[in-house]
């Protein structure tokens, strides 16, 4: 049951295309920031990305090694659980499929770890098959630190907290371990089209 609020009405110019703006979201043209603590300071000399498979085999890249990997430019819509959506954002990054090339079976889930201690968890199926990247460019520029630079995960089909900023490690395995916001009551999966904002949605 819903309740009409006296006097509230739609401002038509604000509603976006319904097939691109999920329920409960509104469009924004700027790029709000949501993070739980200070922006971590990561120097490119010390930066590394480590990916491990279900058997614990690992592969690591320094910044310069990472930039030598095949890169892709993608244009995607992104949706934040705090209700904003942003259409046609342009990113440059390395596909997770590429990172997994020389590793064994990933297993069913991945725990993503970031500089600063942030974590998030996803099913492997949601980060493979061309659905997720480690992005280092945004809008033709280097990714700014407050938006997750040097590099962040990009999983545009899920709420954006899953696209962990300042990514440092992808730990694949057969366990689903809850990440940071997931432990604080946010939804474990986070599909914006099903409005899976909070645990139980």
């Amino acid at each position: 049951m819903t309740y009409v609020t006296r006097g509230f009405r739609r401002k038509r110019e604000e509603s976006g295309p319904p097939d691109r703006v999920p329920p409960g979201q509104y469009l924004t043209s700027d790029f709000p920031v949501l993070s739980a603590g200070p922006t971590p300071r990561v120097s490119l000399d010390e930066w590394s990305l480590t990916v491990s498979d279900r058997d614990g085999e690992t592969k690591s890249w320094s910044w310069s090694e990472f930039l030598e990997l095949p890169r892709e430019t993608v244009t995607v819509d992104i949706h934040c659980v705090t209700k904003w959506s942003k259409l046609d954002t342009v990113w440059e990054g390395v596909s997770i499929d590429t990172l997994l090339t020389d590793l064994g079976e990933p297993g069913s889930h991945v725990l993503v770890r970031s500089y600063g201690g942030y974590t998030t968890n996803l099913p492997t199926a949601d980060v493979t098959g061309g659905r997720a990247w480690v992005a280092f460019g945004y809008g033709g520029q280097a990714l700014a630190p407050e938006h997750g630079g040097p590099a962040r995960l990009l999983v545009p089909h899920l709420y954006f907290w899953k696209s962990a900023k300042w990514v440092n490690a992808l730990e694949f395995g057969d366990f689903d371990r809850r990440g940071f916001w997931e432990s604080y009551g946010y939804h474990n999966y986070g599909d914006p089209w099903l409005e899976q904002r909070y645990s139980g949605d």
């Binding site: 819903t2 009409v4 009405r9 709000p32 920031v33 993070s35 603590g37 200070p38 705090t82 209700k83």
Partner: protein
């Protein structure tokens, strides 16, 4: 840290406006009565859902402004020009109107007296809303957690909760309140008149050696800058909790 995991499903509950307080020309506090509300932690937020007659719905998130109480939730809404929800809440909503809410949401940017202190609260603009909830939660207990409250506002008129904060500082040994005014200030103003910078934090915030719990909330640029200076001053990143909101929304 005080964990506040959301247990079970967060369902929409109907709330009724029982009081509106115009804080200034661009901000309004809305006090809601919600029979099913079980209380919250200072720093948490709610989602609200407004439904128009044609079925159109809009959702927004707002920080809770009041100390934890059953059945009662207060939010302070700042006007976003050209916004869809905030102009309605500030200019049209009146006592007796009803809309849906769900929450409380968020378990990281929270404080309760049992967590202790000292507390360092730093807010920019309407980023002070979750911080006033912490001040109010503290005021309702008998223990004496030391707290320093630093807010940045554009003008004297824009300072939220000014009279209440003045009273809290006068009545409590352990409370200091400083406002800085960044655009204009009245004649005779004796507080700072610039953006929060390193000197200001060295002068008005707890030193890192005391290991305060720092809560920083405001627009992205404000939070980025303040949190970064706190790290420079030696505060542990894990004791700096941030909440940011951009100029969009509302």
């Amino acid at each position: 840290m005080a964990g506040a995991e959301i247990l079970g499903r967060l369902t929409w509950q109907l709330a009724e406006v029982v009081e509106v307080i115009d804080e200034n020309s661009r901000a309004r506090t809305i006090v809601l009565h919600c029979p099913e509300w079980r209380g919250h932690l200072a720093g948490q937020h709610i989602d609200i859902r407004l439904t128009a007659e044609d079925g159109y719905q809009a959702q927004r998130s707002y920080s809770i402004a009041n100390a934890p109480h059953a059945e009662r939730v207060a939010i302070t809404v700042e006007l976003v020009d050209e916004g869809e929800v905030s102009p309605f809440l500030i200019e049209e909503l009146r006592v007796g109107d009803r809309f849906e809410i769900r929450g409380p949401i968020g378990g990281y940017f929270v404080w309760e007296p049992a967590v202790g202190g000292p507390l360092q609260l730093i807010g920019g603009g309407s980023g002070v809303v979750p911080l006033i909830a912490m001040m109010r939660a503290r005021a309702e207990t008998d223990d004496h957690v030391q707290v320093r409250y630093l807010s940045s506002a554009r003008s004297f008129e824009d300072i939220l909760y000014r009279a209440e904060l003045k009273r809290l500082a006068e009545e409590n040994d352990g409370v200091s309140v400083v406002h800085t005014l960044t655009r204009s200030h009245p004649e005779g103003w004796d507080g700072p008149t610039r953006r929060v910078d390193r000197d200001m934090l060295e002068g008005h915030a707890w030193s890192a050696q005391l290991r305060p719990l720092c809560f920083v909330c405001g627009p992205t640029g404000f939070v980025e800058s303040v949190a970064s200076i706190l790290v420079d001053l030696g505060h542990e990143p894990r004791r700096i909790m941030t909440e940011r909101f951009g100029p969009s929304g509302g």
